[in-house]
Symmetry: C2
Subunit: 439 residues, 2 copies
């Protein structure tokens, strides 16, 4: 006998949690499709030379690599590299702007720890242009994410927006481009280490002039409403084309986010977003749940200049965001941010009382034809066992058919929470359950 076990770092849910998980996944998919994003499903396994064209460092160490026959293979570690490959490979078949979504599992052999997974779902949307891509898409993308988080009912959240050109322009202006990575890391820690430490470290390590230092401090300290922040950015008087372009783009994108219907209380400008410095070139996004900021960003992304430079000479600028669903779900559950009230996909279970199996089957057929999911209990056990089964599945209504019901051509339906019970004709039952579905 072998001990059954599931590897650590791999999420495997009980049915009631799986239903909750799928509900969220369905909201994500439906919202992506409402915006006209096209579905994509690429292989989990790719050739190593293709998948690792760009990888390196930390990421490469985490990748599941192996050989089979003569092939060096990898499990995908994100959905972006497969997208790049796909667009390069099918360039002539695709219509641009190419807006695709992909929801699928990716693999990273991280050290397993609470809340970190080695197999996890990513839910990506990207719009990829040929040669150029309108800035309107930078406002469309976060509106998709906004509608998803509104619908899955996680309370208040905030989509933070910035533009990579601001920091890059500022560093260019200050002559600090070569140290940008290190300075960004310091900026990230600003609130933790305090202004004095920040200033001293910068001055000591990078010989920054008082004037430059003031610009950096003024930049970091920019706060207020979106409009106030944009005004302050303009008033910084940083004479650098990239910076000015960044301010203009940020102004346009935040203005258009309102047009796309994002409530102004649900987004802000956060100039400290330092995400993917080597990859993103314009707008960047992060999303936090208010009151649970320590959970980190639950959906991030941004604008990039060139999706697939490793595979094609075509210039493919794009913008996208991603939801790390497995980690998000784990956190929502851990912090009780989602409830599991609705834990069955079926409103009703049909229970034969005596030898009424065929009548029960016939009723189940009718309900299914009316698109009413139902469970049919076909074991011959005690009443107690039947009810206990229904309760364990979290089903709201039990429908009994015994000899009396057959004789009177009706059914008995019982609400298993309130214990209310009534006798209905089959037509009445269908209507009753259809109305209940709309609740």
């Amino acid at each position: 006998m072998i001990e059954p076990k599931t590897l650590s770092g791999f999420m495997e849910l009980l049915p009631s949690d799986q239903i909750l998980f799928n509900n969220i996944k369905d909201v994500i998919r439906k919202t992506y499709e409402k915006y006209g994003f096209l579905p994509l499903d690429t292989p989990v396994i790719e050739s190593s030379d293709v998948l690792l064209a760009k990888a390196g460092g930390e990421t490469e160490k985490q990748i599941y690599q192996f050989s089979k026959g003569d092939n060096n293979l990898c499990l995908r570690f994100d959905l972006t590299v497969p997208l790049a490959k796909y667009v390069a490979l099918n360039f002539n078949e695709l219509a641009f702007p190419f807006a695709r979504y992909q929801i699928g599992k990716v693999y990273r052999g991280e050290r397993p720890q609470k809340g970190r997974f080695r197999e996890f779902y990513q839910c990506d949307i990207d719009v990829v242009g040929k040669d150029s891509l309108s800035l309107y898409y930078d406002a469309l993308i976060p509106s998709v994410i906004y509608n998803i988080f509104k619908e899955i009912n996680i309370g208040k959240f905030k989509i933070s927006v910035s533009n990579r050109k601001l920091l890059m322009g500022l560093f260019e202006y200050l002559g600090l481009v070569d140290s940008s990575v290190e300075i960004l890391r310091l900026i990230d820690k600003f609130s933790k280490i305090g202004e004095q430490n920040f200033v001293e470290t910068l001055k000591c390590d990078y010989k920054i002039s008082d004037d430059c230092m003031q610009k950096i401090l003024d930049f970091i300290k920019i706060d207020g409403t979106v409009t106030e922040q944009l005004d302050k950015l303009k008033n910084l008087d940083i004479k650098n084309d990239k910076f000015v372009l960044g301010v203009n783009e940020l102004e346009f994108v935040t203005k258009q986010m309102l047009v796309f219907g994002i409530d102004k209380d649900y987004f802000n400008i956060d100039l400290s977003i330092a995400r993917g410095l080597d990859y993103y070139t314009g707008t960047v996004y992060e999303t936090t749940i208010i009151g649970y900021e320590s959970l980190g960003s639950v959906s991030s992304g941004g604008r990039y200049d060139n999706l697939a430079s490793f595979y094609t000479k075509e210039k493919l600028p794009g913008v996208g965001m991603s939801i790390g669903l497995t980690r998000l779900f784990y956190k929502l559950k851990e912090h009780n941010i989602i409830s599991d009230e609705e834990k069955s996909l079926s409103k009703a279970i049909i229970l034969p009382m005596g030898d009424t199996f065929n009548e029960c089957i016939a009723l189940s057929n009718v309900l299914r034809q009316k698109n009413i999911n139902n469970v049919l209990y076909l074991e011959n056990t005690k009443f107690k066992n039947k009810i206990s089964y229904a309760n364990k599945l979290g089903i709201k209504y039990a429908i009994f058919i015994g000899e009396d019901e057959v004789k009177n051509n009706c059914v008995t339906i019982k609400n298993l929470s309130t214990f209310e019970q009534q006798s209905l004709s089959k037509e009445e039952l269908v209507k009753f359950l259809q109305i209940d579905y709309l609740k």
Copy 2:
């Protein structure tokens, strides 16, 4: 620059085919859920000692195995072994009978050839009992598959049913149990090699008496309607308990399949089904598309006595069927059995004519709120490019908003196949598209 490519044996579809594929996958999932099957999603990677508890021979050679750190890992090669592990592992949390569905990718490193895949979707349903499981479920399972194939509109098909106890009982009766695998292989070839060869080989290899030989021939040649076949089985006069039980079970299951609403023209008894001799112990199923019998079975399965004997002492009898979706889809496309008429998930594309982007965005928001999927075109290009984009995506209606439409608070909608064009208010547009969705 690295050449972008997808590994051979891995299906990667263009968006229009992906939409078709997903449509079928959705029908399968919705039907599984209508019957109250619970969703399951197990990891793609499992520990080798767990996954290979039972494997061996051909299967084991095909498995993707590799190590990561100290772990010996495997990619799952089916969804049955993960189910066995899951049920053994979560035995105390589950309600029995445990009816679950799982739709997911599995991996087999077969030699790649046309129509064979190394990564493919399996769509499984199983009902697993604790200690025992009612025979009614053996009729429920094929009715689920029947409803799926009816809905995806592949024309006439046939679910063939048999019972493993018939052949096992016959072999017991004839004292041929030890040679049953070889004889079954011969029976499989009966129509190919002809009766004379069949008889000579059997006599020569297994020293079968004339009387025994006659029984085997009588058994193989049984034909007619379901009722006629059952009568002939009874009249064979084979005095073996297993055989008699098999006949009774087959009679009950085929009778109940009618109660579950399977049209009698869509199933038959096929005594030559030899599938999974080592695993199935009762009812067995295969499904063929009429006119495309050479494609082989598109959905198979059966009843087994014990799901998880490698992981637990609990006795877990069950019954299930599986659809190999990737292969099925490939064949349906290859033989033009499904059409790709409906190749967009969006009925409408909104095209700004001039600087009416914000009006177009607002309309898109409204349509989405009414659950009408739509594509918003946000590039500033020539009219020709916009229409060509819409056509490439296969979208039925283009909605134009120019200065005139803004002035008159209306939109222009054009059917891109018929070129019919009309002017509608926004309210009329919503109604028009909602009605179109119901078509």
